[in-house]
């Protein structure tokens, strides 16, 4: 696996200081909760695509609902 030791935007941050003895380790390697480091080349955000499509589907359904509220389900509210 390709491991890039990326420069830290906050290179002066507390974390960088406290880890100055082991500068070669990336954040992922230092974090016990992280099982594996995924680089940008390996990463395929398929879950994001799934969620986005679900959201668009919900929005379309809501628009259809609004259509019935506004035009199809009601008599003209002002004239009525």
């Amino acid at each position: 696996m390709l491991i890039i030791n990326m420069p830290d935007e906050t290179s002066h941050s507390t974390d960088a200081n406290s880890n100055s003895t082991e500068p070669a380790k990336s954040w992922e390697q230092r974090n016990p909760e992280i099982e594996r480091e995924i680089t940008i080349d390996e990463y395929q955000p398929t879950g994001t695509l799934t969620l986005t499509l679900l959201y668009f589907a919900i929005v379309v359904l809501m628009w259809i609902f609004m259509y019935f509220v506004e035009f199809a389900g009601n008599a003209p509210s002002i004239i009525d």
Binding site: M6, D8, E9, T10, T14, W27, I38, T50, Y55
Partner: protein, 558 residues
């Protein structure tokens, strides 16, 4: 070593801002609870229906203007100081904007609370929008003007730090935490011109009795010139948290530095020339300009959808690094036991729902279906009331330990809090939306729907009232939990050199892949001004061409 130990002066300023923000949140939230019980007729014993509008003003001003502005100031002090590695340049200047903002807030708050004192001449039941014909005590407007001027000084403070930093780092990219803060403030400068002109040029002279006549459309238009961009002034700091901090809380990295910068550039360009979409029902503004505002508003969906992608992709990256798999199963690997993460994530989900009702609001024709109904408060309780407020509360669980050097106490209560907010808001907001579809008005102490036949489109009036009252109660409990956890941690949390993991990893696709032109602040600021001039110069000229103080009508019924 955490922020407090590295930047003790900035930590003190940030803490002062957060204290004021949380006091405003406590009072404004309490007012919201009373309103939820009052207008649903569950309990009307606290105040009478006249005083309801004072509470409503207090709720809107203290939460939407004061809580947000002070919290944002604290957040940006933290972010700019940290990412530029500089304490504020001159502490006298920094404290002077803080105290000026606080004095302004106190003046405004006193005039509002005066409305609860019997026979008081000091009152300001003018609602959060405060334009004529409703009139407040002059101190209300002067206080607001001071808050705005002080916020300009705060922005200048951050630009000052940036300029000093730039001298020592001529070729570096603007650090992302500072970039987002500065672009938010540039947007704030563009949009607050409108409200400053309205308050100083029209409302203060009018409330002092120096002038008696104002073109009624002019202050409304100037308010909404500011009044929609201000929602992005609340929202962009929530985005700030979602882009900069949430990916790390999820166990991953920000997906793309370039996407982040593009989103903030688009918000600077498009946030202000959209104000007419609050005035679709106003006569006196041509439909062409309203259409321009609608198109611009719809374009603003783009950066929010880009945010949806970037933030969710960053969270998914974190979940997969934590061992997540599948199309949706990875969601279970996110840290759903971390209060800061949970609050931000649930806030994001609520914002997606608010995005839908926002599209309805922005559409020129369908807007008339829900205009001035309780649908609109339903919408903005999802956006500012959850996407922004819940994000601010959640990130406090991560920021306050850095600023106080104390660990968070009562973590279980802190974890229950965002879930409770989500539940309460789901109940309250869905009922508000549906009631609005049925035509139930907003800003009404006693909307009465009994004693005659009235069938809402979806559900019953009694059920919706109960959902609003119960939802409001759960939200209040959640707010009390938040204030309790923060106060207890602040006063009595265990002292630690490193109370929280405050490291922010670099983005997956870093600034080296970001086009340099995105950092050209002068270019984007100039374009923003041009778009504003296109939208506003002609209609404003029409409104004032017969004389600013010589209108065809009084600002109130004569």
């Amino acid at each position: 070593m955490t922020f407090l130990h590295q930047y003790p002066k900035a930590a003190k300023v940030a803490k002062a801002n957060f204290i004021v923000a949380f006091i405003a949140l406590a009072i404004g939230g309490l007012f919201g609870f009373i309103q939820a019980l009052h207008r649903t007729d569950v309990f009307r014993g606290f105040f009478n229906s006249g005083e309801y509008y004072t509470l409503l003003t207090g709720h809107g001003v203290l939460l939407a203007l004061i809580f947000t502005t002070f919290f944002i100031a604290g957040l940006f002090v933290w972010g700019v100081t940290r990412s530029l590695d500089r304490e504020p340049e001159n502490m006298t200047f920094t404290w002077s904007w803080f105290w000026l903002m606080t004095i302004g807030l106190i003046m405004t708050a006193v005039t509002i609370l005066g409305g609860l004192v019997p026979d008081s001449s000091i009152r300001a039941a003018v609602l959060y929008t405060f334009y004529p014909p409703l009139q407040a005590h002059p101190a209300f407007y002067i206080g607001l003007a001071l808050v705005i001027v002080a916020s300009w000084m705060a922005g200048a403070d951050w630009f000052w730090s940036y300029n000093k930093w730039r001298k020592n780092h001529p070729d570096e990219r603007i650090p992302i935490l500072t970039f987002m803060a500065l672009f938010t403030m540039m947007m704030w400068y563009v949009c607050t011109i409108g409200v400053a002109v309205e308050v100083v040029g029209l409302l203060i002279p009018w409330s002092l009795g120096w002038v008696t006549e104002i073109e009624p459309l002019l202050p409304r238009t100037l308010f909404w010139y500011f009044g929609h961009a201000v929602v992005y002034f609340w929202l962009l700091p929530a985005y700030y948290v979602w882009y900069a901090i949430l990916p790390k809380l999820s166990g991953g990295r920000l997906f793309s530095d370039a996407m982040t910068r593009i989103v903030f550039v688009i918000f600077l360009l498009l946030s202000t020339p959209v104000g007419y979409h609050h005035q679709y029902a106003d006569p006196g503004i041509s439909v062409g300009f309203k259409f321009y505002a609608m198109a611009t508003t719809m374009l603003l969906l783009l950066p929010s959808l880009m945010t949806l992608f970037t933030v969710v992709a960053s969270m998914e990256h974190g979940a997969r690094q934590r061992g997540g798999k599948g199309y949706l199963k990875w969601i279970g690997k996110l840290p759903w036991d971390s209060p800061a993460f949970v609050g931000c994530a649930l806030a994001g989900i609520m914002f997606a729902a608010g995005g839908f009702s926002g599209m309805i609001n922005a559409s020129m024709n369908i807007n008339l279906l829900i205009h001035n109904t309780i649908w609109v408060p339903g919408h903005f309780h999802l956006t500012v009331g959850t996407a922004v407020a819940l994000t601010f509360m959640a990130i406090s669980y991560w920021l306050i330990p850095q600023l106080t050097g104390r660990k968070l106490k009562f973590k279980t209560l802190a974890l229950i809090q965002p879930y409770a907010w989500f539940l309460g808001m789901t109940l309250m907001s869905n009922a508000m939306h549906r009631a609005g579809l049925a035509g139930v008005p907003r800003r009404t102490a006693e909307p009465q729907y009994s004693g005659f036949e009235f069938e809402p489109i979806f559900g019953t009036m009694a059920e919706m009232d109960w959902q609003i009252a119960i939802g409001g109660t759960i939200l209040t409990i959640s707010l009390i939990l938040f204030l309790w956890v923060i106060t207890a941690s602040w006063m009595g949390g265990e002292k630690s050199d490193r109370p929280v993991d405050d490291y922010i990893p670099e983005p997956l696709s870093g600034a080296e892949h970001t086009p340099k032109i995105l950092d050209n602040m002068k270019l984007w600021f100039a374009l923003a001004i041009i778009l504003v001039l296109l939208a506003y110069s002609f209609p404003l000229w029409e409104m004032i061409s017969d004389g600013i103080f010589e209108p065809g009508a009084l600002p109130r019924p004569s």
